[in-house]
């Protein structure tokens, strides 16, 4: 069965990733500002990311920081991603092979019983600037700007942070905020929500505004133990729908696909997250633990537990195993499909990323110096497994035979290099 596709979907990751860049503190942490002498630092990373049978990403990034004698610093970061592969369209599996066609003419076929995927290829570049200035001994201000662009998405933002050292620098209070203006300009224009493709073409582009506020507190508890707590509130307004994703229309009895509709999401999303973290220095090794609680007004709730153990091997080399456990509930309007003949809901999406899912990440980082050569290297290999409810109780007819949420296996490799000069 041929699924009509508007064009190749660009990486949702990249499109939504702009908001994640809002308050990234890639610069030096608060109390360390006056510690680094004047000089330069180069940090480079390359990510190789591959989801089995799905998305592949190659993402090199480099950051250059110059610190002045008075402690001020300026840094610039550049990133370039190439994203290829396929991602789920949101449609349901069927008893026969399904094909999708991207705008560039690439045909993607999935076999019977498989979740349909849409092929895509995209590249994205991003630039970030950050300026930090310590003042009055206990304050550190940070100002940053971000810009990124890909074929059908653009993001621009400004962010700022103020860190205040209190109580002989044992406690640091941080206040941060950011604003971002994103623009989506999908190939074929913005589709009408929940439409079967016959609606007249919509506007060529729509925008989305993201505002973030953050309050954080960190505390030196003992000579070996640092803890932090922060709260982030993000308000999104504007076009939040995925223009390339669809939902299948199913026959209410047989579960066979009779058609499809574009998805539709609310025009606002309010998110809240609380993150507690701890760093503890044992004799030589360091244990990192964190827990994040999240909820938003789409009714997604999630919990994230992250644990790393940095084991020193001597000679400045280390091995750091990592475990991350994640669990989220589905958005209010998430559903596997729509039922033909029943009234359409106000909002609906079958995008697995806002469904109920769990992720497990297992990996390790090896950090080392090459004797006789300056700079520090890190190599990190990780496996991410993502699972969801493949056989929900309310699956209709023939859909009961299919795995509606297949497990995704992902491998990632990050190579990093840092040098001061």
């Amino acid at each position: 069965m041929q699924l009509t596709a508007a064009s190749h979907p660009s990486a949702l990751r990249a499109r939504l990733g702009a908001a994640a860049c809002l308050l990234l503190a890639s610069g030096m942490p608060g109390a360390a500002r006056a510690d680094a002498g004047a000089g330069n630092q180069l940090d480079a990373t390359t990510l190789l990311y591959a989801e089995r049978n799905r998305t592949n990403v190659v993402e090199p990034a480099a950051r250059l920081t110059h610190t002045f004698a008075d402690g001020q610093s300026l840094s610039a970061q550049f990133e370039y991603d190439v994203i290829t592969g396929a991602s789920p369209s949101g449609g349901s599996p069927s008893g026969t092979p399904q094909t999708t066609t991207s705008a560039s003419g690439t045909v993607k076929t999935v076999s019977a019983g498989q979740v349909p995927l849409k092929d895509f290829k995209d590249s994205r570049y991003a630039a970030d600037l950050e300026w930090q200035k310590p003042f009055l001994r206990s304050f550190l201000s940070t100002l940053g700007g971000h810009f990124s662009r890909e074929k059908d998405y653009q993001s621009a933002g400004l962010n700022g942070k103020l860190s205040i050292d209190l109580m002989q620098r044992l406690t640091t209070l941080t206040l941060g905020g950011g604003v971002n203006r994103d623009r989506v300009f999908p190939v074929g224009g913005i589709p009408a929500g929940l439409s079967d493709g016959t609606a007249p073409p919509g506007p060529a582009a729509r925008s989305k505004d993201v505002t973030t506020a953050m309050v954080g507190l960190s505390r030196v508890v003992t000579r070996r133990w640092l803890v932090g707590l922060n709260a982030t509130r993000t308000l999104e307004r504007g076009y939040l729908t995925e223009p390339y994703k669809i939902l299948s229309l199913l026959d209410g009895t047989t579960g066979l696909i009779t058609g499809q509709r574009t998805e539709d999401r609310p025009e606002r999303r309010d998110r809240t997250s609380l993150l507690g973290s701890s760093v503890y220095h044992l004799t030589d090794d360091v244990l990192y633990l964190s827990y994040r609680w999240y909820r938003d007004d789409w009714r997604i709730r999630s919990h994230t537990i992250d644990a790393r153990y940095r084991h020193e091997l001597g000679n400045d080399d280390y091995l750091e195993p990592h475990l991350r456990l994640y669990s989220q509930t589905a958005a209010e309007f998430y559903r596997f499909s729509l039922v033909d003949g029943t009234p359409l809901p106000r909002y609906a999406s079958a995008d697995y990323r806002i469904g109920a899912l769990q992720s497990v990440t297992v990996g390790a980082t090896y950090g080392f110096r090459v004797p006789g050569h300056p700079g520090e290297w890190t190599v990190r290999a990780e496996y991410i497994g993502q699972f969801g409810k493949g056989h929900p109780a309310d699956a209709i007819g023939v859909q009961r035979d299919f795995d509606l949420f297949p497990q995704t296996d992902t491998g990632s490799l990050v190579v990093g290099y840092s040098i001061g000069f």
């Binding site: 510690d35 001994r137 209190l166 309050v215």
Partner: protein, 166 residues
């Protein structure tokens, strides 16, 4: 205003009184606490320096600004030794090897004493790393300086000159 914003705002107001303390630049003169600590060769005692102007600096190998203060202190020591200045640096490292490594990189011809337990630092009320005290010929603390910033070096030198002239 959203009711939900109220609790965070209350929290901020609670924390407002914890404003950063002003750095203590000068105080009414008080006698510098005596100390006798192990040095690199023999012991270092403050009493033995009565009659000289002492620039006393508390440092550690992991203290980044100390990498800039040491060359400056060496210059001061050599420039004003004849006029009565002695620089004394008290090391607060818990790891002696780290201190020795630091001294190999940033040589000091002035006396260096070791206070790993931090008792002398406690007696002086060291509030930041590094902290330095300018002690007059009569043993009274003339001024206290928390932290070291190259921009303040000229001002410190002027204070040293003034103390030596008395």
């Amino acid at each position: 205003m959203e009711r939900r914003l109220l609790p965070p705002i209350l929290l901020l107001l609670l924390l407002a009184p914890l404003a950063p303390a002003k750095p203590v630049a000068t105080r009414a003169p008080r006698p510098a606490p005596a100390f006798q600590l192990a040095g690199r060769t023999g012991s270092v005692a403050l009493d033995s320096l009565r009659g000289r102007v002492v620039y006393l600096d508390f440092w550690a190998s992991w203290c980044e600004p100390c990498r800039r203060s040491f060359p400056w202190m060496e210059t001061m020591h050599q420039r004003y030794a004849a006029r009565g200045l002695t620089v004394v640096a008290i090391d607060l490292d818990k790891d002696r090897d780290a201190a020795d490594e630091f001294l190999a990189r940033y040589p000091a011809s002035f006396p260096v004493a070791f206070d790993p337990a931090g008792k002398t630092a406690e007696a002086y009320g060291v509030s930041a790393m590094p902290t330095s005290y300018l002690i007059g010929r009569d043993g009274a603390i003339l001024s206290t300086h928390a932290g070291f910033v190259p921009g303040k070096a000229d001002g410190l030198e002027a204070l040293i000159q003034e103390a030596c002239a008395r």
